[in-house]
């Protein structure tokens, strides 16, 4: 009897209209897709976090590096899209690398993704804390005391933990704002950033800028960067500023309207973001210069969070708007970022690469509940330790993040190349999208990863924090990867099925095969 019932269930569900209403079929229009894309990139947050460290590496060639950084991102994202089309799975990089290279490399790719997102979660929350107190001080008449609270490590960590807790709560319950609110959030962010740029140029014209620096064509010349190390470091940072853009490409199935919508959404998103980045970057450099004092972008004191220092001088009484923009940007980004590690952890639990608890889906909110909480706990712990270990926690986390992104993106790109190896030359399109593009992207990222790793051994690298005479960024990167290796070995003893390839097998489909 039970079997009969089950058989009927299947029939019922087919007739119940899953395919038409729920999932893949048209839900996000062109504007919606662009909004999600921009919201994931979170330009206000990204710029405040990445401008300083990038200037520290490449100086005036900031605009050139921003443009150059997009190239490897694009190349890898194209491969990402191919994989997503062939194997849609919530484990993304983890699943794909496992299918292409087997369980060990797959595990590390998943680990890299989780580490990168956990690091960015802590950085996001850290930036939010700074701006939270800045906003309070702006509201209560520019009291330096309140803004200074963010500098007290105990208050800072406490506030940060509260923010992470709230973000976890929201993610766990899958609370979403309405579409209107989202348009406002993103629109407000863009308006404030453009306003910042315009005000900066107004100050320059009036002669009231901090360190007026005339715009020059050489800013757009990537070859004017002094050394390859600096170039590589700048590139890995600027990959971070486009991180999140790839989602517009993979939303392909969900966008409604014509088949060209996803492509148009991705293009439109990147044009908007690129124009915005260049405009704000040029404005910021022209306004404040790259000098090492005051609000000069070369000043290590402000590099971890430049808008925190620049908002007042550039925007005057409207500086509070910048605080709100960065805060809302961070909040939206926290929400979309939380999903990533949680879904990958869930997939790893699902395939037996981690304890099964990680595979639990909350029956009330339909979110990966256990994995979400686990990511939050790790992000909170990471931030707490970093706040006490590092001289400039935001700067060092961003640099580490760039390295981690290079690591798992490179593995993903190579996974694409290798997975499709039997169909590279089936069509001209395949040759480019499954072979040439991801291969070049993967190689660029590997070079960036290795260069950053080697350079960061220097104790003066990044913010200049060091442990045992080695740069903190190097120690962090290695520690994160080694911890991953250790956990992987433990898991391989406890849960050997995955590591024997029993749950996710190697594959290399021919053209036209599934």
């Amino acid at each position: 009897m039970t079997q009969q019932i089950n058989a009927r269930v299947v029939v019922d569900q087919k007739a119940g209209g899953i395919s038409t209403k729920g999932l893949s079929a048209g839900s996000v229009g062109l504007v919606g897709a662009v909004i999600i894309g921009i919201s994931c990139i979170a330009p206000a947050y990204t710029l405040t976090g990445a401008l300083g460290p990038t200037v520290a590496e490449v100086g005036l060639q900031l605009p050139a590096i921003f443009v150059a950084g997009f190239i490897p991102m694009l190349l890898v994202a194209l491969g990402y899209r191919e994989l997503n089309k062939a194997m849609p799975d919530s484990g993304t990089s983890f699943t794909w690398a496992t299918r292409a290279f087997g369980p060990w490399i797959g595990w590390m790719a998943g680990w890299g993704l989780i580490a990168a997102t956990v690091v960015v979660l802590s950085n996001l929350a850290g930036i939010a804390v700074d701006f939270f107190y800045l906003m309070l001080s702006q509201i209560f008449g520019n009291s330096a005391e309140i803004a200074g609270l963010a500098g007290n490590p105990f208050i800072n960590v406490g506030t940060c933990l509260v923010f992470i807790l709230i973000a976890t709560w929201i993610s766990y319950r899958d609370m979403q704002t309405t579409q209107k609110v989202q348009y406002w959030l993103v629109g407000f962010q863009l308006i404030v950033l453009v306003g910042f740029g315009i005000m900066a140029f107004v100050h320059i014209a009036n002669g009231s800028a901090f360190d007026p620096t005339p715009v020059s064509l050489s800013w757009f010349n990537p070859f004017a960067v002094t050394s390859f190390s600096a170039f590589a470091a700048g590139l890995s940072l600027s990959i971070f500023i486009f991180w999140g853009w790839d989602v517009t490409l993979t939303m392909s199935e969900e966008t409604k309207g014509s088949r060209s919508t996803p492509g148009r959404a991705a293009t439109l998103t990147v044009i908007i973001v690129m124009v915005l980045y260049l405009f704000v970057a040029i404005a910021a450099v022209s306004f404040a210069g790259v000098g090492g004092v005051g609000v000069g972008l070369g000043n290590p004191e402000i590099q971890g969070n430049v808008f925190f220092a620049l908002a007042g001088p550039a925007l005057g009484p409207f500086a509070v708007l910048m605080s709100i923009a960065v805060l809302s940007s961070s909040a939206a980004s926290l929400q979309s970022t939380f999903v990533s590690p949680a879904r990958t952890l869930l997939a790893m639990g699902h395939y037996g690469a981690l304890p099964p608890a990680y595979a639990k889906v909350s029956p009330r909110f339909f979110t990966p509940g256990y994995a979400t909480i686990a990511s939050a706990v790790v992000a909170a712990g990471f931030y707490t330790i970093m706040r006490f270990v590092s001289e400039d926690v935001l700067w060092d986390t961003i640099t580490t993040l760039g390295m981690m992104i290079c690591f798992y993106y490179a593995l993903t790109a190579f996974a694409c190349v290798w997975y499709f190896r039997l169909q590279w030359f089936a069509t001209v399109r395949n040759a480019f999208f499954t072979f040439v593009f991801p291969l070049i992207g993967g190689i660029i990222l590997t070079v960036l990863f290795c260069t950053t790793l080697v350079d960061s051994m220097d104790p003066n690298y990044g913010s200049g924090s060091e442990i045992f005479g080695l740069g903190l960024v190097f120690v962090l990167g290695m520690a994160i990867l080694l911890i991953g290796v250790v956990i992987m070995i433990v898991q391989s003893q406890v849960r050997p099925a995955f590591f024997r390839g029993e749950t996710l097998s190697l594959a290399a489909p021919r053209y036209g095969e599934e």
Partner: protein, 290 residues
């Protein structure tokens, strides 16, 4: 009759399912188990992920399969996955499509503010459902699914015009082959409530009893009583409740004038009721026809 269970793989969902199965033990009844997932129409700032959606779908199918194992063999049962912006909306859509006669949900939510016995789902349904809604109290699942409904208690109130509710009670009692009990709940400390009111209530209950007796088929037992107390809660507590019975209440019939807030009365009753509560909308008569 078609009973729709709004199911989640939670204790509250198990409560709803247990009650649904017991109701569906009536001859000729059908059971629909509906699980509502978030629809893609909803605005999100998080990019949707086809991989995750697929996994969620598989998980949900697993939950439904588990739910089926709790349904006794031989019962006519279907499971459905519904996609909607909210649980409430999904259930209402499904109820309309399946021509359900009754929606069953679990009433208990013990969240952070857990003293409220009615969750947002139940509350949303109670304010918008065109068909009766049954709220299974926390712990219904413990009783199991073997017992049928032994008695239907209709809280008819003292106001005239409870005929619709009464008709629902009669119909349900017939269907379930259960006893029918008619109860007038009177809260003494409400303004205007005194001995006279209690007497009126008793008269009313008698009148209702007469009406019901005339309209009942042979073989069904019907009783009537007046329950009074300093509050609705106390009046409810004062009654004897059989473990196998269900209580029927009209949406807004019980309340005093200017106290028509359905949720509060239903919540009051529910907090005290050891048995499931079925709330019948005013214009239910259209939907109770098979």
């Amino acid at each position: 009759m078609r009973f729709l269970v709004g199911y989640t793989a939670t204790p509250a969902g198990a409560d709803a399912l247990a009650l649904g199965v017991r109701l569906a033990r009536a001859p000729g009844a059908e059971l629909d188990i509906v699980l509502v997932l978030n629809g893609g129409e909803r605005a999100t700032l998080t990019p949707t992920d086809p991989g995750y959606d697929r996994l969620l779908l598989e998980t949900a199918e697993g939950w439904l399969a588990e739910a089926l194992t709790l349904v006794p063999a031989g019962m006519s049962v279907h499971t459905h996955l519904e996609h909607a912006d909210s649980f409430t909306q999904g259930l209402l859509h499904a109820a309309a499509r399946l021509h359900s006669n009754l929606i069953v949900v679990g009433a208990a939510t013990h969240g952070l503010l857990g003293r409220f016995a009615i969750g947002s789902v139940a509350s949303g349904l109670l304010h918008s459902s065109p068909v009766p809604v049954a709220l299974a109290p926390e712990g219904t699942r413990v009783m199991g699914t073997d017992e049928t409904i032994g008695r239907v208690t209709c809280a008819v109130g003292t106001k005239p015009g409870a005929d619709g509710l009464l008709a629902a009670g009669i119909r349900l009692a017939r269907r379930m082959d259960a006893q029918l009990r008619l109860v007038s709940l009177v809260a003494i400390d409400h303004p205007g409530a005194d001995e006279h009111t209690v007497a009126l209530a008793a008269d009313h209950a008698q009148a209702v009893l007469d009406f019901a007796t005339e309209n009942l088929m042979d073989g069904l037992e019907v009783t009537a009583s007046v329950a009074s107390g300093s509050s609705i809660e106390q009046a409810v507590r004062g009654l004897h409740w059989d473990p196998t019975e269900v209580a029927l209440v009209g949406s807004s019939r019980l309340a005093q004038p200017h106290r028509l807030f359905l949720g509060s009365i239903a919540a009051k009753m529910l907090r005290e009721l050891p048995v499931p509560l079925i709330v019948v909308p005013r214009d239910f008569a259209l939907t109770v026809e098979e």
